[in-house]
Amino acid sequence: MANEVTLPRLGWDMEEGALGGWLKKEGDFVNAGDLLFTVEGDKAVQEIEALDSGYLRIAPDAPAAGVKVPVGTLLGYLVSEDELPSFRSTGSPLTPISSAAGDAPGLALASTTQTNSTVTVSDGSAKDQAARRIYISPLARRLAESLGIDWRKVKGSGREGRIRVHDIQTAAVQLEAAPATVPATLDGLAVVESRPAAAVPAMPVPSIGRVPMSPVRRSIAEHMANSARSVAPVTLTCEVDATQLVALRHQVKEDLLAENGPVPSYNDMLAKIAGQALMEHPNINARIDGDDIIFFSSAHVAVAVDTDRGLLVPVLRDVQAKSLRQVARESAVLFEKTRQGKAAYEDLQGGTFTITNLGMFEIEASSPIIYLPQCAILGVGQIIPKQVVVDIATEKVAIQQRMALSLTFDHRLVDGAQAARFLQRIKRLIEKPFLWLVG
């Protein structure tokens, strides 16, 4: 598969930049690691290494040196020898049609379905192909988008070339099986994102099976990778005295016994506490949107739930405005629905903060990954009785219910001290739960 060469992002805040110049010539063979081109950033000119090996084909519509273009703009391709004929230097079949106004007429695509309806081509012979819309079923389209497959380049097997879910599944399997150097035209399949070739040939490792990822697994993978790529995570940890919290739960439990209602779990109580702390620290109850920051008026607390299908994070809405009893009642229904795989799309959307609790697995602390676009996530550890010194002067020790908290926050959005204050407030509210009464 041809590897795209694009304008890289040199810093988190870099949105555009300019090509300084090529360090290799059109048609040169480039080894991964060779210096390939330079980029003019705000501060300096930087030399960029090739991530892949191949013959350099400069994209026909590549920006000229010194012209500012957005990060990610296509500069060229590194192609294998086999692919060279299809990458004539005048143009490229991989060039997106929408930007291919300068293509030579009659540059036929591999399949009639690989066209885009928004383009009108003046050349009569190509007109019928180019003007036809690509039909794709709603299910197939949703799957393609969740897998990152460009369905415009998938050949459909339905009536008149309509793309069905089976075609996307086949494309996904081929993509999985295809080594990185397979030509993009393989069986009508092509994928926009290039896959860097492995530096060292992989040693075969014996496996006991291969299964396609479930949609939930894929979605989790996508979210996590996206978060790991784009967030500047910092984790703060602290240990809190949960003795009063445990006592409170016992009291509430006794009080609710007659009612037969759900007894609030620690997660419910922590959601409630987080709700209050978030109201007091609006900079945490926020997200990045483009160049802006949006602050939310409500605390929608998502709680990580382990299900047969994988990790799901149903959202408790407006916890700041609800009593603990209300939160407990709603979470009992919501979490059960989630475990049974019946949670609706809306139930899993719109959280402004997440709590993940691994205490039941005897985990003491974790470094959770932020669930984008949220700003922070609170990891909760097991509650363990420990002996702690409560007064150094008298050398007094006491046994307390201790619990570790790990707050991962996005340093793009808030600074360490702000996040620390937020975590400290949560700690305070856990240690002195009667402070909730004050609100």
């Binding site: 709603p138 299910l139 069905r164």
Partner: protein
Amino acid sequence: MREMTFTDAAREGLAEEMALNPMIFVVGEGIGPRGGNFNTTVGLYELYGEMRLRDTPISERGFTGLCTGAAVLGAHPVIDFMFLDFELDGLGELINQTSRIHWMSSGRLKVPIVLRGGVGVASTGPHHSSNLFSVFMHIPGLRVVTPVFPADAKGLLKTALRSDDPVMFLEHKKLMKIKGDVPEGEYFTPFGKANIVRPGTDVTVVAISFMVIKSLEAAGVLEKEGISVEVIDPRTLSPLDIDTILESISRTHRLLVVDEDYSPCGAGAEIAAQVMERGFYELDAPVRRVNGAFSPAPYSPPLEAAVVPNEITIAQALRDLLVE
């Protein structure tokens, strides 16, 4: 389990409820000593006499209104229209009064009444072959029940006789003599709970009334071609169990609705619309419908055969849908 016909099972349900509830009575043409044109009341006249099995003159509007009044005052009438087409003469009463009194009285007055009759094309010509499913589905307040199997005929009729709402109990004439297992003892079949009568993995068929039988035959044909068809009997069209249909589509991603009734504004149109609203992203192909031809039922047998769906046309529609 026992084997009974649809009509016998429904009649057993009626007899059980009449024995328990003295406020249930039946009116209709020929439902007294004659036992009903379709044997719906055979043997009951001997048990309960003419006060509770009351033959009427041919005056549908009159006795629909009369029974509505009786229901408001605490009785639980069963109107046996024989052919449901005859109900059309009482439609003004049914829609304007029977279905609306509950609302117009702010819920103070209830109208527990069962309106039953034979539907469907069965060598019965233009005046005796109506299905009218969507006409009744369209009216708020009416329950629309379309039993297919004998066990459901009994269970749904018993539920109807315990309901506080007017219930349209629509019995396809081609189902009446079909036999099936009926459980011993008392049971009720709930409204709004569809039945997956044949599980499958490739395509979902929602079939209405007699079309369930034809769809099962088509599914049998396609099984030999390696196609696995799931067949759903909604059992009640109002309330409609769209959740079960959506759940099925989330596995098969394809839907065919089979309805002998006309396609414009029909039950299939409603089901397709709801699926589009709530299950669009589960669909791998457009929702398709197979309906009876948009014409009154002809009397000529060859013409009649041409206007109603059968296992061959259903199977072909499924093959078409699968290559879509």
